[in-house]
């Protein structure tokens, strides 16, 4: 299912000419999404922004329907990558707000909260897995 989610998101950007800088057998979903995030951050500086609605639309859909593994890839992968790369480049994080849907904005804020100390790592993990923060971790 991760492959399905990844394909949907990545295909949007592939149609725009982006490609991952490594062979498929040399990488995995986190590596692909890190590269994709870097491309999006590059675009965020000056555009074009045409593919942003499709990318973030797919992100929103998969955050809603994905299982814990997919949410982990998307939240700890793509969303946190966008934040970290942006911060390393001095790009204001609120510049991404216009592209975020309800679920992706929520996930965005939870990741921000974790780094700010407002959300514990355990609570972040619970959120990613879609369970109450005080519930036992899934196995």
């Amino acid at each position: 299912m991760i492959d399905e989610a990844l394909t949907e998101i990545v295909d949007v950007v592939r149609r725009d000419g982006w490609s991952h800088p490594a062979a498929a057998e040399e990488t995995g979903p986190y590596s692909v999404l890190a590269s994709l995030a870097l491309h999006l951050v590059d675009l965020s500086a000056a555009g074009p922004f045409a593919l942003f609605p499709a990318v973030f639309g797919a992100l929103e859909r998969w955050l809603a329907r994905g299982d814990a593994a997919i949410r982990n890839v998307l939240i700890v992968g793509l969303i946190e990558d966008l934040q970290n790369i942006s911060l390393n480049r001095g790009i204001a994080l609120d510049s991404w707000e216009e592209w975020l849907g309800t679920r992706s904005r929520d996930a965005w804020d939870v990741v921000m909260g974790m780094w700010a100390g407002r959300v514990t790592p355990d609570a972040l993990k619970a959120y990613v897995e879609g369970r109450p923060a005080d519930a036992e971790p899934t196995t």
Partner: protein, 166 residues
């Protein structure tokens, strides 16, 4: 004197790596007599057999804080260190990636000023690339996918034995 190993509740170390049928500890060389890197099974360390897939909880080795846990076909680098920042916080960096372009991307994934865990999302991405395998779910750990013990050895052996609990 066997090295005490305790597994406590608290920090969860996700274990979805394949077939954790036999767990074995490999400690940083020089810290414990008889626990050198060439020991097939370090003396004084109990091997714990875990049938099937189980979560592994907060594994701690007394007096040493960087060690590897080895399963049948997976090695996991463990840095027994507080998850959050403090004077002893000293994250284990993920392995270097051979592809320079991928390494350049991973280098940008560290959170500026981070003091939690490994400091960003570089670890899963780097492990993805370094191991050519899917990193298990649950990432704020130091799971190393299918890295071999030989690949992990430099990560452990070059680190000072800093932090933390015991």
């Amino acid at each position: 004197m066997p090295t005490p190993i305790t597994s406590t509740s608290g920090m969860r170390v996700d274990a979805e790596w394949p077939a954790p049928e036999a767990w074995q500890l490999w400690q940083r060389p020089g810290c414990q007599p008889g626990l050198g890197p060439d020991a097939a099974r370090p003396a004084g360390v109990r091997t714990v057999t875990v049938p099937g897939a189980e979560d592994m909880w907060d594994l701690t080795v007394a007096n040493d804080h960087d060690f590897c846990v080895v399963t049948v076909n997976t090695a996991v680098l463990v840095h027994d260190c507080p998850l959050t920042g403090g004077p002893d916080w000293d994250p284990v960096k993920p392995p270097r990636i051979q592809n320079p372009e991928l390494q350049s991307i991973a280098d940008q994934l560290y959170r500026p000023g981070a003091s939690i865990g490994n400091g960003g999302t570089a670890t899963p991405s780097a492990l993805d690339s370094a191991t050519s395998s899917r990193v298990p779910n649950g990432l704020r750990t130091w799971a190393a996918g299918s890295l071999t013990i030989r690949e992990l050895r430099p990560q452990v052996s070059t680190r000072p034995n800093r932090c933390c609990r015991s």
